[in-house]
């Protein structure tokens, strides 16, 4: 399965085309659909940071995914999110996507928006591994195996 070609802005206000602008040989993307899911995303961050240290070819990104809006609404939402995340590294790695969420979910076979999804992508954007919901040691072990196999 292939990650669709989409464009977004990170919270440093830089435009990025995904998946080509993802920097890692392997990229772990944490996809959230609702603001409250940030707490689910946060459960993955310590492990993602640790994995980055062990596997230098890996980068992780947070992808808040929002239904298409006009430019003014996008700016308002992005600036609000930026105001809530002062860490420059987190800002760089948070890429807001405004798109047709149904089409995006269909392209990645993500059945619903009730949980976050965690995908491991290779350089070309192929999905090598996936998980749904909060972090667990079992998911981390499975992810580590996928990284070592990728």
């Amino acid at each position: 399965m292939q990650f669709p070609t989409v464009a977004g802005y990170n919270l440093l206000r830089r435009k990025l085309d995904l998946p080509q602008d993802l920097e890692g040989e392997l990229n772990l993307v944490l996809i959230a659909f609702q603001q409250w899911q940030q707490s689910q995303v946060d459960t993955w961050i310590p492990s993602a940071k640790q994995l980055e240290q062990v596997y230098p070819q890996l980068r992780y990104y947070e992808l808040p995914t929002i239904q298409q809006r006009n430019a003014l609404a996008q700016t308002f939402i992005n600036e609000g999110m930026r105001a809530g995340i002062p860490d420059p590294v987190a800002r760089e790695r948070t890429i807001t996507l405004y798109l047709d969420k149904v089409a995006f979910r269909r392209a990645l076979a993500l059945p619903h928006e009730d949980d976050i999804y965690v995908l491991l992508l290779d350089r070309q954007g192929r999905v090598l591994w996936r998980a749904e919901g909060v972090f667990s040691p079992e998911k981390a072990q499975s992810l580590t195996q996928a990284i070592e196999g990728g």
């Binding site: 206000r13 435009k15 603001q35 409250w36 940030q38 707490s39 946060d42 430019a71 700016t75 308002f76 600036e79 609000g80 999110m81 930026r82 105001a83 809530g84 995340i85 002062p86 860490d87 420059p88 800002r91």
Partner: protein, 281 residues
Amino acid sequence: MNLKMTDITALGRPIDPSYPTNRAIVLLSVAAVLVGAIAQLVGGMALLPSIVWGASAGLSVFLGWALARELDPDHDLSAFVGAGLTMIGLLLSGLPSLLVLLWLMLALRIIDRTVGLPARPLDSLALLGLGGWLTWQGNWVAGLVTAVALLLDGLLSPPLRYHVLLSGVALAVTAALLIFQGGIAPASELTRPAVLVAVLLAALFAIVIATTRELRTKGDVTGEPLNPRRVQAAQILALFTALIYVWWGGESSGPDLLPLWAAMTGVALSRLALLFLSRRR
């Protein structure tokens, strides 16, 4: 029915072009828009994002001026030093967080009442709405400062009593969101030079707070002199916001609040210059 702007909002301050200083800041802001947009275009940015960047730069310069006008209403010079420092800062650190600065401007105007009138219900809603939105996004400082601003306005003479109640609501919502979102975490990386600069600028601005007494400036609508206690309260809130941002936001807090830091520095330098000149006479 003849509806005036002050019936809806007590925070709007139209730019009267008959004042040369107002014309000057408009020209300066427009210059920042043009230079900013052209610089981004030349640097390879697309047309529309370049225009947005330029417009944001112009608004930042204007905010550096406008914030200084709130913090030191008697002296035009402070505001232009603030605007100038904002321009320099834009070259060094990029665009600030305009949404946060607009919210802070609302909070300061509600406290110092430069228009001369107490906040209208729509003003209170705007402050709560924008502060609430920022808090919901994880910026708990906005929730806390909104609560403090409303409390000050509800206590200082002449008080707008229902703001005490709204302050309690803002504080309760902020606390609830903090529990839900995971609490307060200070900045992980804060260098000693950044702390020293923040402390130095804060100390300079503390002189302004201490020396703000009688004010000549009159409320835009009422023609009554501004209440120095309220202006001092706004100064203290601005300083509190800047410092708490440094603690929470670390290195990014300087660029994010650039026009605020520039305004406070501009006001402090102008006040020191005035104090120095008055001693020499």
